[in-house]
Amino acid sequence: MIGSSPPRLDGRAKVLGQTAFASDIRLPGMLVGKILRSPHANARIRRIDSSRAEALPGVHAVVHAGNVHQRPFGYGVDNVPLKDHPRYAGDEVAAVAAEDEEIAERALEAIEVDYEVLPAVFDPFQALEADAPRVHDERHDIEGNVSMRWDFEHGDLGAAERAAAVVVEGTYSSPLSAPASIETHCCSAAFDPNGDLDVWTGVHMAFMYRKALADALGLDWRAIRVHQPPIGGSFGGKIDIDPLDFITVLLARAARRPVRIHFTREEEFVGSRLRQPMHIHLRTGADAEGRILFRDADIVSDNGAYNAWGSHALLVVMQTISSLYRLQACRVRSRVVYTNKPYGGSVRGFGNPEATFAVEQQTDELADALGIDPIELRLRNANRPGDVTPQGMRITSCGLEECLRQVRERSGWERRGRMRERHRGLGCAAYIHVGGGARIYPSDGCGSILKMDEAGRVTLISGASELGQGSQTVLAMVVAETLGVPLSAVRVVQDDTELKPWDVGAHASRTTFVAGNSARLAALEVRQRLLETAGELLEADSADLVVEDGLISVRGSPQRAIAYDRVARRRLLRQGGSTLIAQSFYDPPTEPQDEHYRGNISAAYGFGAHVAEVEVDPETGLVSVLGLWCAHDVGRALHPAGAIGQVTGGAVMGLGLALTEELGLADGHVLQPSPREYGMLTALGVPPIDVSLVETLDPEGPFGAKGVGEGGLIPVAAAVANAVADATGIRPRSYPLAPWKVLEWLREPELSRVRRPT
């Protein structure tokens, strides 16, 4: 079972269009909710008059900051669902619930809002200036617009710098980009006559969501049930609780009817969480043999109007700077800066693509300066099993070297540096990412309940959330493998907080590792009880029993056998019988980081390497990616097709970031809230992608597996940039690699010149 690739349990329904997503849910009496958004990037509301809207026939509720009770929410506790002081163009100001979409639209138009428009700041470096408008003037606990700092130091930076034979330096910038999933956000809420609240939404951190919902709206969290219909893509965009969710509940409460808000495609770009731009100034030094000695980083994160999850992406940026490759000394200074713009969330990779773009280009810059092959230089510095990184991350299984060798061999790496006259080049980039959970909360655990009924049907109730990544199938495989029963007997329930045990949520590539271990523990317990009963029936010691494809037999005497479901029946349907059920809770053996950002936050780390081949049109600046070779240390591939799919999907998302995706703003307004103009790649823009899975059999992972949900995306932009450098000699300092930018660099190589200290 493990290591094979059966069809996804949810695959057939999705292919046939029969899956009911959040937006397919209809409840009796359900109303349509719509949100009124601020047209101004920074404004105070002097007066809001909703009486005309309320008077429209078919309108059942109008809510705004003046008529609801709400408390601040979010990571920075700096946001409220409905604003009397909107801080970005698109901020939620009011909402209506009406009989249908058209009435709701008309009601929005009938709300009169008198804004006092205030000066706004859009550039993070301007926001750092002393006289810049303050985005959160009510926050007296911070200085100017710097809402958070993430500073880390390790080792003797001065000594490492003196020992360096070469130092490279540059600033690397990433754009505002969107997760842009096919399914737009949708939330439905309904109160029952007892005041219990049911919510249907695409969230994949359901328990934290429930708490946040209760806290901000003053509800009893014991009275909230969160349903998680299948998610049509999230990529981190649906991880957070959003104003959308609170507003849906506020409307349902005010209207005393179920309410559904379903984002339009345009709202999906304007009203949901994005990947915030980062500007990473980095210096890296190495000795003459190519040993990397130090890194020194100064980072500005252009966080937008509020501190949602995105403000914590610096944690991952810091991790890559300190822990990808061995180092002697490291310093990271980061500032999270408020600007009057759409704000950052937790998009796939969570700071790592941005950091890897800087770190891995500098690896190539060092290699070029020292005359060492870039992959050779990476091999010399690669993390190895047993390493403890400057932040105290304990590397256990580590296939980084093997990944580098794989992509070197498969890509025809010897062609590097020899194709410049054809404007072609090869570039490599590697990554490190958490692969065994990420302890960002007191528990990083996941609970499971496993039940086997009298028919032999096995139900896993898992805390884990399915967001399209394939957790349902992999968890069922873990259970089938552990119990020795056919996969067809296993079902997974994971979409309802009423039933499922606690789990922190689907993030940080943790589900296969944490939920997989949890499911395995529960299955082991059920297996043990099943074998106890089988031992009684077969008159054998349960330790002598083997299970294969649902048949339990005595080792060495295959004729003494009994079907597992008969055993289940015999255990249940007798005087004094009992349900075959077990529960487990797996919390990885990790520790939270201390105030100095030290601590082993993950029970395993994932590694990988990519090589990209590009062709640059020197006359138009157009960059074409001709091929991508990816090797990922997944510990063990439980479902190889699923793992390859994750890597491939991530790589395509990474290519979009590298080449085309950027959400343009003018005075804080999103200019192109449509997929066509935003520019995710379509199938025609995707080159051949070659994926190799490297299996290192992690000692802690379920059957040796580690997480790989984000890895495919992380090194793509860096590898493409390094390939462009090989093809042209220029050094890309920002992405996407839009043709007009590349052409400018080609004409003004000074803009991308490598600076070296004398």
Binding site: R265, T620, G621, T660, G679, T682, G685, A738, W740, L743
Partner: protein, 282 residues
């Protein structure tokens, strides 16, 4: 909103006279409706009119019905209008090419309309019809400004008339991804070696699709003087410069004005070189 689906052109023109907004593939109109940029009182669906769907040869011209889709243009006009076929291949996705029509591209009159540069380069004329009668306008007289055309409130685009290619035709555009891309700039070139005539039109670099007339005259002059077998490199460069000079681009998200001019000169040189080496006519 009223929705009319007439079964004949006569019926359609009556409804049009009442002020209904025509819709064929809907690839432009539906976007406007979704963004609430327009709220027409009535829609006039042209998809059921056989008169608009066909193409024919008339008096040495090709008369292409306004409701001809890009997909059909690609499948059926390959040998006759290679420039239009090249451009049609770059429109949207297969689904959009199945729905979108030449007439829609004309009526929208966007400077980024992909079919417009090859039609203009080939010297196309637009046939407009109303209850008052029929008139034919050369494309430059039809396209008045960004999304503005000479189409009167009671008129429909009936067809576009194009002379079949008498020599090589080329089309190229710059866009950052391979599919579903709105051109940063585009160029169509039409050479008639026998008559020494050159057509060159450029898209996304001005308020409408533009003709690069000076570049055309220059190249016609070069064709007169030079040996057909060899194209002087200097002439290529000059042609590129003159095409770029004809552009009136703006800065926007998809590229700066300076980038557009530059990229256009590159496209001009390349299209010219491709056309030249297209040996079928030389």
């Amino acid at each position: 909103m009223e929705f009319w689906q007439p079964q004949s052109l006569t019926e359609a023109l009556e409804i049009r006279e009442q002020g209904a907004e025509p819709v064929a593939g809907g690839t432009d109109l539906m976007v406007d409706l979704n963004f609430d940029r327009r709220r027409p009182k009535a829609l006039l669906d042209l998809s059921q009119l056989p008169e608009l769907r066909e193409w024919d040869r008339v008096d040495g011209w090709l008369r292409l019905g306004a409701a001809l889709t890009y997909t059909r243009a690609i499948a059926e006009l390959g040998g006759l209008l290679p420039g239009l076929v090249l451009a049609s291949r770059t429109v949207g996705s297969p689904q959009i090419r199945n729905r979108g029509t030449l007439g829609g591209n004309l009526a929208t009159a966007s400077p980024a309309g992909d079919a417009l540069p090859p039609l203009m380069a080939a010297g196309a004329e637009v046939e407009l019809v109303s209850r008052r009668g029929t008139r034919r306008l050369p494309l430059p007289a039809f396209l008045l400004g960004p999304k503005r055309s000479a189409l009167a409130d009671d008129e429909l685009v009936a067809a576009v008339w194009v002379p079949p290619a008498r020599g090589p035709q080329q089309f190229a555009k710059v866009g950052p991804r391979n599919a579903m891309v709105i051109a940063v700039c585009s160029l169509a070139l039409d050479l008639d070696p026998e008559r020494r005539r050159v057509g060159c039109a450029i898209g996304s670099v001005g308020p409408t699709v533009l003709r690069a007339t000076e570049a055309e005259r220059f190249l016609e002059g070069t064709l007169e003087e030079s040996d057909w077998a060899a194209l002087p490199a200097a002439a290529q460069g000059r042609f590129g410069e003159l095409v770029a000079a004809a552009a009136r681009p703006i800065d926007d998200l998809r590229g700066s004005a300076a980038y557009r001019r530059h990229a256009l000169s590159v496209l001009a040189r390349r299209c010219l070189a491709w056309a030249w080496t297209d040996g079928s006519w030389a």
